[in-house]
């Protein structure tokens, strides 16, 4: 007999929607279990631009999306100020732009009306010389520029923060737990739970629930299909290129050969450029960036920043948008809005609901909607409070200088810890405050301290080394894990009681997953970078099961 876990609501998928719903329900006191087949946020959420933007590009076709995004951007800033960073944008104006500056400015003036909702500044207008002074790498062919204000977020950490808050209120969050099939009370009857496989231990178990919420992003059709339910998305693949450190001071707009808007923007310690939008019907678990996509992005960026190819591309990120289906429309024109499907009312699977579509920036509102519906179904009437209650760490600002002094950690480490954990950094570091030696740096790129790794293993339920790039941004900097894979595997090995063979295997898999993201963009300095990477990791780890 396999283990049975009982709950009221089973949530499938630990992206921003699944974790957002888990938090909302938990605050309302509704018991839930969240199952994520990999790591929290590892699907579309990690692949996003991480922008809590107001959705300027949707203004014309879908102002509703813009409004949602702006209002909720403000809410996210309130509840998780530590995870958010301001991204000032610069929109260069070229003579041959299809839309002239006057019309553009009318759009921006319209957008200005939404901007106060997200604590943004209204747009500005720069002369050519002003723009080049701020952003010297801009093309000398610009005629002027506009500025506007957006916000960025660590999307993976935002998922983790929602999940942790839910967990703190009694929800069970299980990662590496894959839903394999649904339980029905009678064949073809009500959905009453799911059969689950733990992908780390191999254990099969069962979760029984009054209601199932499918929040599997682009996988949602696949999950619904397990209950015999069919619905369609129009999956839109998008990639980003990640550059070492900064390319520009501000985010800079660029235009694709097909006229699409793209940008290169500062993101955490690095810079990203993207994104693309193409129909995708391949394997969702093996998405790979292609040569054409890399060329398309670089070519677009080159128009705004001619020297873009001199920057070192560290790796690519790729994902698929769960876009609602609209037949025949161009990819970009498809709706970014969301739907909640009641498979009892609209199909033959009562007890199963699917939430799909939407945007990262509007996750809180979507979760509220979904949780309202669940609460109604379950006869509960606690209201939503996710816009007022802070996420873990968001309750008070962290004094970086004082944290650095008190806990004997460098300022950069304190700053980044504060970014990921907010006020929670204090209790995290307090665990080693009186140790004879200060925390050790495991990954110098970020930097990541061993204390943080121990914390996420002990307190956040982190299970695998390959989760660390998302959870603590280990191995996503210049070294791509060469400097830290072995050391981090050792720290987690100690915490999680791994046999040495397991730790070596984890380090090997981290290298393999980094290679997946690096290989498509190998060029210039990064080819030499990976030559060193291989020499170091083959030397330190050996990559051999044959020894054993």
């Amino acid at each position: 007999m396999s283990r049975v876990v009982r709950t009221r609501v089973l949530i499938v998928g630990g992206g921003i929607n699944g974790t957002g719903i888990a938090r909302d329900l938990s605050i309302r006191g509704i018991d839930c279990v969240l199952l994520e087949k990999k790591e929290l946020g590892s699907g579309t959420s990690w692949a996003s631009s991480g922008m809590i933007h107001g959705g300027l590009r949707y203004l014309q076709k879908d102002p509703e999306v813009t409004l949602h995004s702006c209002v909720d951007s403000g809410a996210i800033q309130r509840i998780a100020p530590h995870l958010i960073f301001r991204i000032p944008f610069l929109m260069p104006v070229f003579r041959d732009d299809p839309i002239g500056p006057e019309i553009l400015e009318i759009g921006l003036e319209m957008y200005d009306r939404y901007v106060p909702f997200k604590n943004g500044r209204p747009h500005g207008r720069l002369t050519r010389d002003q723009a080049l002074e701020i952003e010297p790498k801009l093309s000398p062919h610009i005629e002027g520029a506009f500025t506007l204000d957006e916000w960025g977020v660590d999307a993976a950490r935002l998922c983790a923060a929602n999940a942790l808050d839910a967990q703190g209120r009694g929800a069970q969050i299980m990662t590496h737990a894959e839903v394999r099939s649904f339980l029905r009370d009678v064949p073809g009857g009500r959905v009453t739970g799911a059969s689950v496989r733990d992908r780390v231990t191999g254990e099969d178990f069962v979760v029984e629930a009054d209601l199932v919420m499918n929040a599997a992003g682009p996988w949602a059709p696949e999950v619904a299909e397990m209950a015999g339910e069919g619905f369609r998305l129009r999956p839109g693949k998008g990639i980003h290129l990640v550059f070492e450190r900064r390319v520009s001071q501000m985010a800079v707009y660029a235009r694709g050969v097909d006229g699409r808007d793209m940008f290169v923007f500062p993101h955490e310690q690095n810079a990203m450029a993207g994104t693309t939008d193409d129909d995708y019907y391949g394997d969702l678990d093996r998405i790979q960036t292609t040569e054409d996509e890399v060329a398309y992005v670089l070519e677009a960026m080159e128009r705004s920043i001619p020297s873009i190819r001199q920057h070192r591309v560290l790796h690519a990120i790729q994902g698929v948008r769960p876009t609602l289906f609209g037949f025949g429309a161009y990819e970009d024109e498809l709706s970014r809005d969301y739907r909640i499907i009641d498979h009892g009312a609209e199909g033959d699977a009562p007890g199963l609901f699917t939430i799909t579509g939407g945007k990262l920036a509007a996750y809180r509102l979507m979760a509220e909607d979904a949780a309202d519906l669940v609460a109604r179904e379950l006869g509960e009437n606690e209201p939503c409070r996710t816009a007022e209650l802070p996420l873990p760490g968001g309750d008070a600002p962290l004094d970086i200088a004082q944290t650095s002094r008190r806990f004997r950690v460098g300022l950069p480490a304190a700053l980044r810890l504060g970014f990921r954990h907010g006020a929670g950094a204090t209790s995290l570091l307090a665990a080693t405050e009186f140790d004879p030696s200060p925390p050790r740096t495991v990954c110098a790129c970020e930097p990541v301290l061993d204390t943080e790794l121990r914390h996420v293993a002990r307190e956040e339920g982190l299970r695998r080394l390959t989760d660390c790039p998302l959870r603590v941004r280990l191995g996503v900097g210049a070294c791509q894990g060469a400097g830290c894979a072995a050391a981090a595997a050792a720290v987690l090995g100690q915490e999680l009681g791994w046999e040495p063979a397991r730790a070596i295997r984890e380090a090997t898999e981290l290298a393999t997953s980094r290679w997946h993201d690096v290989a498509p963009v190998l060029d210039g300095a990064q080819v030499a970078g990976m030559e060193v990477h291989r020499a170091v990791l083959f030397g330190l780890i050996g990559f051999s099961e044959s020894l054993r």
């Binding site: 740096t441 072995a486 190998l522 060029d523």
Partner: protein
């Protein structure tokens, strides 16, 4: 007419020293350090590479550990594109003799700097890596060389508080586990805490190592570790016991502790071993004419070559040794497409496929640990180490290549990198000597 050696890594410096010893007039072009300066303290000539089927650490039939000499035989039997095979055909004995001669030469170059090259083709050393995994090595430099784990009763990891990427507790477990997997008796492994001097607590190897070159700092460490050793006990410390004086530091520590002391193996930035080798080689080359510059172009002339240096004056020479390395060194460039930047020489991977002229990522395969064509790519040479044109003819009679620039092997995966650098340099020099009418 003089000989120009382009590239001042292990291959280029070995070539320059051999050329000078044979009485030829040589100019070494030094554009700064490459892969040699990043090495991990082993001079691998035929070390065991457990991920590579033709470089096993154990005899697949009899199960006993193989000697490096036997692995050289396997290389020439199994890997036709490997530079050893290109140079010696299937004659493994000749390859072994060449390796041994080259190592003897290296020993003589490094000894004035106090850096010894320990080991032989008839014995393998079992050494600890920084995370506690073990490495079966053939030749090893002073520092890690005294760290053979075989026959030890007790191994003690000395904790250095706060040091980046150094975490002895789990490493100790891994070490015991890995030795058992090798079929070797596992010694007692423990961690020595609380003795490291507070003055010497630094997070970065790069800051700590130069300090330990100073006698007074060594004294502090000796006092702290005094009496901690014994003849049966091996003390393991991080790879940071000095840059220029590791030998002195180790022997003082040996005396003070009363036992064996060694560094574990690590790589830059968590180790200084490669810098030591680079510095010792630079010192060995003090009598060689060195031009510190980067060659920007190489032009053939009736009587030899013209080396160009951008705006700087050109250099004429009668023969050229190309020892420009791979991607780290800069001998192979991959901006846009993979290419050899000086002459546009065709480049081949270990399976003999051409890789130049195409974007780097097209020469990759899925799976990090698999053979990656991109990383076995380099020029193809004849047995005299002359780079070949696409038609298989020598590019020029007096143009030879040495080291990582030569393709057909993967230095990271196959652990023959420095061996190839030395052996190909020696063979290239023989060719130049013959061509210039010199006999050493």
């Amino acid at each position: 007419m003089s000989v120009a050696v382009i590239g001042a890594g292990l291959a280029g410096r070995a070539a320059a020293l051999l050329l000078r010893a044979s009485g030829l007039d040589v100019t070494l072009i030094d554009a700064g350090p490459g892969a040699t300066a990043l090495g991990g303290g082993c001079v691998d000539t035929a070390a065991a590479s457990p991920g590579v089927s033709w470089l096993p650490w154990r005899d697949p039939l009899q199960g006993r550990p193989l000697l490096p000499r036997e692995r050289v035989q396997l290389v020439v039997a199994e890997q036709p594109t490997h530079p050893y095979t290109v140079a010696f055909g299937s004659d493994g004995d000749a390859a072994c003799q060449a390796i041994e001669r080259s190592i003897d030469a290296l020993r003589s170059w490094l000894s004035p700097s106090g850096l010894a090259v320990e080991g032989s083709l008839d014995d393998a050393r079992v050494l600890a890596n920084l995370p506690g995994t073990v490495r079966v090595a053939d030749y090893v430099l002073t520092g890690p060389s005294s760290g053979d784990l075989r026959g030890r009763e007790e191994v003690v990891w000395v904790d250095v508080p706060g040091l980046e990427a150094w975490d002895p507790s789990y490493a100790a477990r891994t070490l015991a586990y890995d030795l058992e997997a090798l079929g070797l008796p596992a010694p007692k492994v423990r961690v020595l805490r609380g003795v490291w001097p507070e003055r010497l607590a630094e997070p970065r190897v790069a800051r700590l190592a130069p300090r330990l070159d100073r006698a007074d700092v060594q004294t502090t460490l000796c006092e702290a570790l005094a009496g901690q050793g014994s003849p049966e006990r091996l003390l393991l410390v991080p790879p940071m016991l000095g840059v220029d004086h590791v030998g002195a530091c180790l022997s003082r520590l040996g005396e003070a502790t009363g036992g064996a002391v060694a560094e574990v193996l690590g790589h830059a930035p968590h180790a200084t071993s490669g810098f030591r080798l680079q510095r010792a080689l630079e010192q060995a080359c003090s009598g060689v004419t060195v031009r510190r510059d980067r060659v920007s172009g190489l032009r053939e002339r009736a009587d030899g070559f013209e080396l160009q240096f951008g705006e700087e004056p050109a250099l004429d020479c009668g023969a050229v040794v190309l020892a420009t390395g791979r991607y780290v060194g800069g001998g192979v460039d991959a901006a846009g497409v993979v290419r050899e930047p000086l002459l546009g020489l065709p480049l081949y991977d270990a399976d003999g496929r051409r890789v130049d002229g195409v974007p780097a990522h097209r020469s990759t395969r899925k799976g990090y640990a698999n053979a990656q064509p991109l990383y076995s790519a380099g020029v193809r040479v004849d047995p005299a180490m002359r780079p070949l044109t696409a038609r298989g003819e020598p590019w020029h009679g007096r143009l030879v290549a040495a080291g990582d620039l030569i393709g057909g092997f993967d230095p990271a995966r196959e652990r023959t990198g420095m061996g190839v650098a030395l052996v190909t340099a020696a063979r290239a020099v023989e060719t130049v000597q013959a061509e210039m009418g010199h006999t050493g």
